[in-house]
Symmetry: C2
């Protein structure tokens, strides 16, 4: 992408509206813009990160045997009356259509998925089943704040699991539990699981996942052994569950089983939540299956959410420095940033055009800063945006047909040929 | 994907609710399900087609220099009051939030993009600019019908172009015009352009694009020469505009310049629309740029839409037979359908598992029909769904380690090795 053909409105000063670092940096880097409280446009750079985060989630969910679909944002209120949730209070945004029917902008989709299930699935033979979507939702928060961290219109991955028995559901639950570590790890995040309350959605078994970040919203306590266990290649669910972790309000030093030296006190940001709620929706909505004895019974269900847009905030909270964002490569808006330090110089322009065309042909993400801004401003922009590597082109480099490659994280600089750059960053086309 | 892990609710009889073939076939093939009038879930197969259609649009839009972003579904009504549209009548779905502020579920996004533009772009130097999104929209149609063809919640590609002069905008307009032929052609569609009214959105110059299909919603008339011109490798905009085309209500045989033998009478489905509306939004909303003389002037704008979810209906209208859908390969939910004709037979299961794993590793789309239904039902399902090629595995084929490959469109059958199948269908990993 060329900067000249995009919308990347950089802000030099810290915006007054932003009180936390991720909100501040995503505004400054031109990734998001607010239209009304808690409602944002994803500008080109923000959208690219959002899509990369969503694609990591898709990859791991599909590998776990889950299947993607997409439910509508607007739901008939009748389904909510049937399930007994009734309308979910003041956080639900309601609209009345031209035929005077009330609809809800879905804050979650338990009712809709249960309705789909009961219309089509009648037997234990079709189970287990794990259906998920990545869809925009709306919660009319009383005080939306912190940018994407607590928005009103937000993107969520919500998976719904269906089982014939508690044993079958436990397998699904544990698979989601393990999958979540793989998902967050692929985005460069360290997460700790916590046993959680089941809240408004209700149910029996529930865990939430918190990203560890210095600037996190709440204090957390956990056994240091969890750091190794949750980042192991093979996730050992029992072993992890046996270890202590507690959020601030539940942590009681008097009964904490972990010795002081092994207890980590940190701050966390909630990014995921898994639930088992049995027949809470399937019983009132009559989502029945014939079990192995030929008897009709309500299907056993769970729901497993990840705050997709919220994750962008969490990643920035965990990965930034005084110059801006330091995206993990897997979710960076672009892998490479091409900086022409003398735009308008014929040899620099020609060499940049050649590099840009070659990288695009090789499917390597590159943002070409092709405006007439001065070099210093271009470097500052690339550092603020957090592109992992800059390719710097000066008249000397153009004459030598060489590229100065600078790493955002370490600052290390290396001179490379175009062939070597392509070889090094070729990821998606081999 | 395994059929056993998905939700593909096949319907054998024609559903009473569906009066046109695309609606009927998409329901029968388990691609979509309605929740309330004109509001659908995209089931796993339907979502895969939707994503492929959207990705073709993205590829061609990006190649034309357009840049993707994503605006929110819910818009503050104040922007609509500022532009003078005020709320757009009864088709607009409105919601009132907890602070008694009225929001609109966006049926289009002219106001939001104009607001983004005026906040960030101040000079002709940042032009031309083409920003687009692929986003869900809502129109509270008085009579939603025909499945995805006339839904209330629908997916649309909307691009907005910004220019400093009429000349610069004409270049953008013509580029979108040519790009649309490339987009539709890549989905196996023949489209004819028509000079159009500007309607509620208002403006000066406008064309709509209609897919030619026997079952189309409206009668159309055009010069036969347009068929070759619109499918040429290089789109010649003037040459196309010089030829006659007219929708039913505008066609007057008395003044039609085309001789009878060259005049095609067909039926069409509207799938795209491009507009130039100058300063209709930028003047009242004060989206001003400094021009080359240093004078502030309202930026000149255009909007360019494609009905993304509607296209699924249009493609099925153009590509089906008595057995079901015949998807063009580029938008098929899966390229290949693997049919195990004796599920439970150890050698068939093992050979299918080997084929399935190998194809997945090679990134070749494959739907594995792994349930215990009888072979006849599996073939009928694959034909109804419209998977372009079936890979058929019998005990004999398993013993020989061979694959019977059957083409959906022609019915031609060929025996191939797994290596040969991989070689033939390897598309995305080379």
């Amino acid at each position: 992408m060329r900067v000249s053909q995009s919308l990347i409105p950089i802000i030099k000063e810290n915006p007054a509206e932003a009180s936390i670092v991720s909100h501040r940096l995503m505004l400054r880097a031109g990734m998001i813009r607010q239209h009304s409280a808690g409602i944002y446009s994803m500008l080109p750079l923000g959208l690219r990160v959002l899509n990369k985060v969503a694609d990591i989630i898709r990859r791991e969910m599909n590998a776990a045997g889950a299947c993607e679909l997409l439910m509508p944002t607007m739901q008939p209120i009748e389904l909510w009356e049937e399930s007994g949730r009734g309308g979910y209070g003041t956080e639900t945004l309601k609209a009345v259509d031209r035929h005077e029917r009330t609809m809800i902008y879905g804050p979650t989709h338990e009712e809709v998925i249960t309705d789909l299930f009961r219309r089509h699935i009648k037997s234990y033979k079709s189970l287990p089943l794990n259906l998920y979507q990545i869809q925009w939702k709306f919660r009319d928060e009383i005080r939306p704040r912190f940018g994407l961290m607590r928005g009103r219109e937000f993107l969520m991955k919500d998976a719904y699991t269906f089982a014939e028995s508690e044993e079958q559901h436990q397998v699904q639950y544990d698979r989601m539990y393990a999958t979540y570590f793989r998902i967050f790890r692929a985005m460069g995040l360290k997460v700790i699981p916590f046993k959680a309350d089941t809240g408004l959605i209700g149910g029996d078994q529930s865990h939430e996942f918190q990203v560890v970040a210095e600037t996190g919203e709440s204090a957390i306590f956990y056994d240091r052994a969890l750091e190794a266990l949750t980042s192991a290649d093979e996730i050992d669910v029992a072993a992890i569950r046996a270890r202590y972790s507690a959020a601030d309000e539940k942590h009681d030093p008097a009964i904490c089983p972990v010795v002081h030296e092994d207890l980590v006190q940190a701050r966390g940001i909630e990014v995921g939540h898994i639930f088992y709620f049995d027949d809470k929706y399937s019983a009132p909505m009559k989502a029945l299956i014939k079990n192995r004895d030929g008897v009709d019974m309500p299907v056993k269900m769970g729901a497993h959410g990840i705050g997709v847009s919220r994750l962008l905030g969490a990643i920035v909270e965990a990965h930034h420095d005084e110059k801006g964002i330091v995206w993990p490569v897997s979710v960076a808006p672009f892998t490479l940033g091409l900086v022409n330090i003398r735009q308008g110089d014929a040899s620099c322009d020609a060499w940049c055009d050649e590099i840009y065309a070659r990288l695009n042909r090789a499917n390597i993400d590159v943002l070409y800063h092709d405006t007439d801004e001065r070099a210093g401003a271009k470097f500052a922009t690339m550092e603020l945006i957090g592109v992992p590597w800059q390719l710097i082109i000066s008249p000397t480099h153009a004459a030598d047909k060489m590229i100065e490659v600078k790493c955002r994280r370490t600052g290390a600089v290396e001179m490379m040929s175009l062939d070597a750059v392509v070889e090094r960053f070729l990821v998606s086309s081999l």
